[in-house]
């Protein structure tokens, strides 16, 4: 049974709901769908799972972009309804006929809907009965991408309640799958962390919601299944690049690190020639405003060139004529070349392939069916939509004002605790020191906690930083459990009135089970205010893997009812990547966490904020 079907405007006004279905939805699946899927550039996905007490819904949706309408169907997940996509598309078609922007009541649609639903159910039933494989899609929709989704639900057969009848189904589904290169595994899952569905307006508390269900992502990745839709035409499949994945760093021969790298134990003796830098190196770049001119005229010429390339085939006259007259409605095929070019461009900027793919899907979903404005080209329309999407993704969902948080903690007479996590050799300790330096400049008293009790030399390295910055450091050698060391450090900080505790942890590969377990323990035992993921700006496709697995492990190994995930990202080595800024996007997209700091050099002052505008500009250049 369908739970509910809603039609609403992109502005948020509900135009029609099915009164017949009536039953009130539990929790707020629609708002959650919008906030953590549609507004997170995931609208290219096939479905969305919503869990609240007493409810396990699957939601499916379709857009009418020209009219600015959204159609959402909600049903119980255990019922693999076969007809939902079909029904949605029919509802869309019928409703767009009678839609009038001035009208807000559509009671007359009740009857139409009843009819449509019966038709759709009947069709699904027929499909179920007919054992033979059907070649043609059921409905006569014009766009394959939409209609072909019909029946995919049947693909997830966990329960074979229907016995024989189901087999036919599956066969059909499989066949379709091969035909279209579709996969049925694409959907996001969501768990309401608070255990109740009421999420209205509580931006902060639902922040975890948006985190991509890494589970699914992983499955998707490992299977190598891609949602190809009509994109199928020879997208160059970049082989999974592993080159960016660092093996253990050889610390000695990294001359670039020389200035801040005290990893080498020999540095211990270097105390004499070490000078205190606390006030010497000047203002941390965190506080410097960066002025990026927001004019985009510069790119105009370039763009013309690009655009002309895209529709060079059509001849200048037709393209000019088209751009003056404004094209009818944008179809998937019109968007394809521009989207592909955009995807490739994103990938040359080191955006992980699957992320670039998903973004393009989402942009396509938001443009399909729209009217192209006069005097615009498809390529520039796509580009503008992508730019908006990128700004949305990179705009932090919550406040990233750490100093304010520090003050809040201080009012409660407790230190503000930051845990730095990440894989090996990304510069955790070095950037921890930069953050410490920045905090010091703002008259915040800082303490370091050396909880990397795994790698030899780690404690000494941190000690060296602490001495240079004249910051107290809490250390217990290498034998102890890092979770316990952190706990004691926080107690010590409470005692001596330090306002912030920066906890250094051992670098660990995301697949290292024992170490990930230890990290999870550290986090749950100490409940830090901020779990900061330190990642290299150099990583490409691996960014997704690292972050999603970290989050996944933290969630899986959680021992408490509230799941702690990564709250923020510190990107290191930003100075070495030139215009390949894609990692910032990949990481933010995968985790939903904002980039809070950017490490961009070798001195303590080289810590910046992420400038969203300039990143977006660079990505689209």
């Amino acid at each position: 049974m369908l739970e509910q079907l809603l039609i609403f405007t992109r502005g948020g006004l509900i135009l029609w709901t099915c009164k017949e279905l009536g039953s009130a939805l539990r929790g707020s699946p629609i708002d959650t769908l919008i906030r953590s899927c549609l507004l997170e550039e995931r609208s290219g996905l096939a479905s969305f799972n919503y869990d609240a007490p007493g409810a396990a819904y699957t939601l499916k949706w379709t857009f009418h972009n020209e009219l600015g309408l959204v159609f959402v169907a909600v049903y119980q997940r255990i019922l693999h309804l076969l007809y939902v996509d079909d029904l949605l598309n029919m509802v869309k078609r019928e409703f767009s006929e009678i839609y009038d922007p001035k009208r807000t009541i559509y009671d007359d649609f009740d009857e139409t809907f009843r009819q449509l639903r019966m038709e759709a159910e009947a069709r699904a039933e027929e499909l179920r009965k007919s054992k033979q494989v059907m070649g043609k899609p059921v409905s006569n929709g014009k766009k394959q991408g939409q209609v072909n989704k019909v029946g995919f639900e049947g693909g997830n057969k966990k329960k074979s309640e229907c016995g024989v009848a189901r087999d036919g189904d599956d066969a059909m589904v499989k066949d379709r799958k091969m035909e279209n290169g579709h996969s049925n595994g694409i959907h996001v899952g969501i768990k309401d962390p608070k255990g109740n569905g009421v999420v209205n307006g509580k931006e902060n508390t639902v922040s975890n919601n948006g985190a991509f269900d890494v589970n699914k992502l992983q499955k998707l990745r490992s299977k190598g299944v891609k949602k190809t839709d009509t994109v199928a035409d020879k997208v160059p499949k970049a082989d999974p690049k592993k080159k960016n994945m660092k093996k253990n760093r050889v610390w000695d021969d990294s001359p670039a690190e020389a200035k801040l790298d005290f990893t080498h134990p020999a540095d211990q003796n270097g105390d004499q020639d070490m000078h205190v830098v606390a006030a010497e190196q000047g203002q941390s770049m965190m506080d410097e405003e960066e002025n990026v001119s927001s004019e985009s005229e510069v790119e105009e010429d370039e763009e013309v060139e690009r655009g002309s390339k895209a529709d060079a085939k059509k001849g200048w006259f037709s393209s000019i004529f088209q751009s003056i007259a404004g094209k009818a409605n944008l179809e998937r095929a019109d968007l394809e070349p521009a989207l592909k070019a955009l995807k490739d461009r994103l990938m040359t900027k080191n955006v992980a392939e699957q992320i670039a793919e998903k973004l393009c899907e989402s942009v396509a979903a938001s443009l399909e069916g729209k009217k192209l404005a006069s005097f615009t080209r498809v390529s520039s329309t796509v580009q503008a939509a992508m730019e908006e999407a990128l700004v949305r993704i990179l705009t932090p969902r919550r406040s990233i004002d750490i100093l304010r948080d520090v003050h809040a903690a201080k009012e409660q007479n407790r230190p503000y605790v930051v845990v730095f996590v990440g894989v090996n050799g990304v510069g955790k300790s070095t950037n921890l020191a930069k953050v410490a330096y920045w905090l010091l400049q703002h008259k915040v008293s800082v303490m370091m906690a050396a909880c990397d009790t795994f790698r030899s030399g780690a404690v000494e390295q941190l000690r060296t930083h602490a001495r240079r910055l004249q910051i107290p450091i809490f250390e217990k050698g290498y034998e102890k459990d890092p979770a316990v060391v952190a706990k004691e450090a926080i107690q010590e900080a409470t005692r001596n009135g330090s306002e912030v505790v920066l906890v250094d942890t051992a670098g660990r590969m995301q697949d290292n089970e024992p170490l990930m377990r230890a990290l999870s323990k550290l986090i749950y035992l100490n409940n830090p205010d901020l779990v900061l993921f330190v990642g290299e700006a150099l990583v490409g496709n691996d960014a997704v893997d690292q972050l999603s697995k970290f989050n996944q492990r933290l969630a899986d190994l959680s021992t408490s009812p509230t799941t702690r995930l990564i709250d923020g990202i510190l990107l290191t080595k930003f100075d070495t990547i030139d215009d390949k800024v894609g990692a910032a996007l990949s990481m933010v997209y995968v985790s939903g966490a904002p980039v809070m700091f950017v490490g961009c050099g070798q001195s303590y002052t080289d810590l910046k904020k992420l400038n969203v505008k300039s990143i977006v500009k660079t990505l689209l250049k």
């Binding site: 809603l6 609403f8 405007t9 992109r10 502005g11 948020g12 006004l13 509900i14 135009l15 029609w16 709901t17 629609i30 708002d31 919008i34 906030r35 549609l38 507004l39 997170e40 600015g68 959204v70 807000t104 009541i105 209205n200 307006g201 509580k202 931006e203 902060n204 508390t205 965190m286 506080d287 405003e289 960066e290 001849g315 006259f317 037709s318 004529f321 700004v391 949305r392 993704i393 705009t395 932090p396 969902r397 919550r398 406040s399 990233i400 004002d401 100093l403 304010r404 520090v406 003050h407 809040a408 703002h442 910046k608 904020k609 992420l610 400038n611 969203v612 505008k613």
Partner: protein, 266 residues
């Protein structure tokens, strides 16, 4: 493609004809004495300038009122209450702004010509915040909607957003009046507007300290709020900041309407 070719030919014909016409025109112009020509040109220029400047004068007084605030505050409900006197079948989280130019519902019974209001409801979802900046340049007034029911858990988030709004370059420079609207007050558990005002002032006071040292590179917080050394109150703002109550659900929105009509004269 064939159609296109025909088109091309036709267009070429047209351009040829046009060229001929132009040539004739130029010849005629040469025959006219120059003095007359100058007068004619002067008259032409004058009319064009006058015609162009009429809308400029008209536009001087903006009629745009912008609704903003956190997601779930009740902006969209308010928008439709102001427009239609009903919130219809309810709302969901907005993904795009709602915009409309209309006479307020409560004024439709009044006689005489009334100036319509251009009302914009900007979504509150933090990912969509950059949208607000698009509408500020034309705003005659800003209604900052606060959920009075669910205020405490959101107090910090609300205040931070209001801080960003109040320090926005346009709001400061153009002294855009801001109405802090405590919504959902039909519920007995809703906080009073005085409580909300005080809590927000306190919160902004703290933000002032942390933000004055670190300003987000993207939000141009070029301006600092209030008087250094004194506790922050809204009365210290350059622009007028007032507080009011409303309930979008029950249609008790007279105070918003007053605010709107104060800044968009009927």
């Amino acid at each position: 493609m064939e159609g296109m070719e025909q088109w091309k030919v036709q267009v070429e014909n047209w351009t040829n004809q046009l060229n001929q016409l132009l040539g004739q025109l130029l010849e005629q112009v040469h025959q006219v004495p120059p003095a007359q020509l100058y007068v004619a040109i002067a008259v032409l220029v004058f009319t064009v300038v006058v015609l162009l400047s009429i809308p400029l004068f008209k536009r001087k007084k903006s009629n745009t009122i912008v609704l903003t605030g956190l997601s779930g505050g009740g902006k969209t409900v308010l928008f439709y209450q102001l427009r239609d006197g009903s919130y219809h079948q309810g709302t969901v989280t907005s993904m795009e702004p709602n915009e409309g130019t209309f006479i307020l519902r409560s004024e439709t019974t009044k006689k005489g010509k009334i100036k319509p209001v251009h009302l914009v409801d900007v979504p509150g979802h933090s990912r969509l915040r950059p949208k607000l900046e698009e509408f500020l340049p034309q705003a005659a007034g800003l209604v900052f909607v606060v959920d009075a029911l669910d205020f405490l858990p959101n107090c910090r988030a609300v205040s931070e957003y209001l801080y960003d709004v109040l320090t926005n370059a346009y709001v400061v420079k153009k002294k855009i009046p801001v109405l802090i609207l405590c919504n959902k007050t039909e519920k007995v558990t809703a906080h009073t507007k005085d409580f909300i005002r005080k809590q927000m002032e306190k919160e902004i006071d703290k933000l002032r300290q942390s933000r004055s040292v670190v300003s987000a590179a993207d939000i141009t917080n070029d301006f600092t709020l209030g008087v250094p050394g004194a506790a922050f109150t809204f009365s210290q703002c350059q622009n007028r900041v007032t507080v009011a109550e409303a309930s979008g659900l029950t249609g008790d929105i007279s105070q918003v309407e007053e605010f709107i009509r104060e800044h968009v004269k009927p």
